[in-house]
């Protein structure tokens, strides 16, 4: 009898999980993938999962990627669900990106500048041709010896520009930064919360929003003032010690977009900034984030708010891929009660129109 089909959810779930585990492992003839391999060889995926998962832990991110069969949003979800259970011991001092140990640093607005342009491990100028030599299981690459590390100080381009008074100044926060993982989003949302949402936000969403500003939906005439990637120290200052101690390092990508601003009656024409900062090597995300950050400052700078990327409520409510994927995918849960009421409603309306 068909009615039986809706019963037996319990066994069905167990069977589905068993099948999933088998699928994840794949053909047992192939070697099992180790977490260390993912961590070492799928670094960009690990970085993205750490960034959107808001948890800086390469090993756990790699584990999540393995468990999720490479589904990165699912991996972010796993990491987030773990992160939420962790106790908080302390808050770090703000990291100092000006003192970053640079692996990559480029500026698109000056041909040369103190510290120079450093390409780093970029794929920008590779030709996207499949490298069939990678098909070899035991690939032995002849690594060129690493270039001697730079030691020259690398002041941030924003600091250089600011000396001339052409770039808006940094504004110090007036209060503790907000935290979307503890407090619900409240509107109007200040820039601290907006930046947090963007840093955690889905790379694809932020990219699309940033792109839309370049195509005329809230354009800001951006220039990539500086992109830098490298390691920074993280420090905490325990109250009982009274001085800061170094607790570890983070690899970060930072992007400062420099954008035009015509000025107002009280503010002279100058350049304004959009800011992007993400865990790991996430240049695409950092750049897109900086574009969207600047777009969301439209109201603050007295510009018309007309485009989606300028609409703070729209961007913030839709940037989180864990919220989005959950709600989109919940449509596959049973809705037969609602559908039944719609069916009866349609029947009723048809009968009453006919009579």
């Amino acid at each position: 009898m068909a009615y039986v089909a809706v019963k037996g959810g319990e066994q069905a779930i167990d069977a589905a999980h068993a099948w999933l585990a088998e699928e994840r492992r794949g053909d047992a003839e192939t070697k099992a993938l180790s977490v260390a391999q993912i961590q070492e060889q799928l670094g960009r995926a690990v970085d993205r999962v750490m960034a959107e998962g808001s948890l800086y832990d390469h090993q756990l991110a790699a584990l999540a990627i393995k468990q999720a069969q490479g589904d990165l949003i699912e991996a972010v979800f796993l990491l987030r669900a773990y992160r939420t259970t962790l106790p908080r011991f302390a808050h770090t001092k703000p990291i100092e990106s000006g003192e970053m140990r640079i692996e990559r640093r480029i500026s698109a607005i000056f041909k040369d500048l103190p510290g120079g342009q450093v390409l780093g491990p970029t794929s920008d100028y590779t030709h996207r041709l499949l490298d069939f030599s990678l098909l070899e299981e035991d690939e032995r690459t002849n690594r060129p010896p690493p270039v001697a590390g730079e030691t020259e100080a690398m002041p941030r381009v924003s600091d250089i520009l600011r000396h001339e008074g052409l770039l808006e100044a940094d504004t110090a926060a007036t209060c503790e930064p907000g935290d979307l993982t503890r407090d619900p989003l409240a509107l109007p949302a200040d820039r601290d919360v907006r930046l947090q949402a963007l840093a955690r936000g889905d790379e694809g969403f932020v990219l699309g929003m940033g792109y839309s500003t370049q195509r005329g939906y809230g354009g800001t005439h951006p220039f990539a003032g500086e992109i830098r990637m490298g390691e920074v120290s993280v420090e905490i200052e325990p109250a009982e010690l009274g001085f800061a101690i170094d607790i570890g390092d983070l690899v970060l990508t930072e992007c400062q977009m420099v954008t035009q601003f015509k000025g107002t009656r009280t503010v002279p024409p100058q350049f304004t900034r959009g800011y992007g900062l993400v865990f790991g090597f996430g240049e695409r995300k950092a750049m897109a984030m900086a574009l969207v950050d600047r777009a969301m400052r439209a109201a603050e700078l007295g510009e018309d708010v007309t485009a989606p990327a300028q609409n703070i409520e729209f961007v913030l409510y839709h940037s989180d891929n864990i919220e989005a994927t959950g709600f989109v995918e919940h449509l596959k849960l049973p809705h037969y009660v609602d559908f039944q009421s719609e069916l009866q409603n349609v029947w009723r309306m048809r009968t009453e129109t006919n009579t």
Partner: protein, 288 residues
Amino acid sequence: MKGYNFAYLDEQTKRMIRRALLKAVAIPGHQVPFGSREMPLPYGWGTGGIQVTASILGPHDVLKVIDQGADDTTNAVSIRRFFARTAGVRTTTATAEATVIQTRHRIPEKTLREDQIIVYQVPQPEPLWRLEPSRVETTRMHGLADYGLMHVKLYEDIARLGQISISYDYPVMVNHRYLMSPSPIPAFDNPKMDMMPALQLFGAGREKRIYAIPPWTRVKSLDFDDHPFRAINAPHPCGLCGSTDAYLDEVVTDDRGGRLFVCSDTDHCAERRAAGFVGADGAREAAE
């Protein structure tokens, strides 16, 4: 469960949620923002309801979880297992035995008692969202009790279709003050909310809102004097237990238009059948 607190959430988080719940009970129908946590189940699958349940559950509680009225739908099974695993509480499918009932899309047919709590999973707590997508705007509208937009929508339905076209998630007015989404329950269930002896709690995890209806509170489905609220149900008795006053699911039995109408509340149906009530299809099945 090893490594996790009782009922998964840490005590600080539970305290934060309980504070939101107390505020919600004090202002019936008002949406209280809360610091919704990321749960190990996806948003949209009951994270709000789960957080509310986790915050009110004690070791002696007996939990029932239903989805579409049924205890054995996959997501209900999954949530029931989650609490059996993380809280070790006793679970049940019998409505009368439960002290806490978490539900998605239905209210049980059996009248709930004062010593029971029903927790609704809410996908979209904002009743005005189809009419005004901005939460900044809707918050202002709730503040001013400015619900003209919804009345106009209902009026337009009547003017164009001769009747109100909302069949589920039918908006209600709570305690004569706040317009509220009853969650996507069929409009059939709306009257059960009015003056319910049990406490009704609503959790929306993704949207980070909690709201509540205290026991014995007026809950009125929006309507007009000349177009009173009407609940809809399939015009059939239950095929298995013969019930004529329970909400029905339609089950497609073949590809030639065959249909079986059965109680959506599986516990209600099973209890009636155990008491000897037999519907037309139930009798046929027994004869086969």
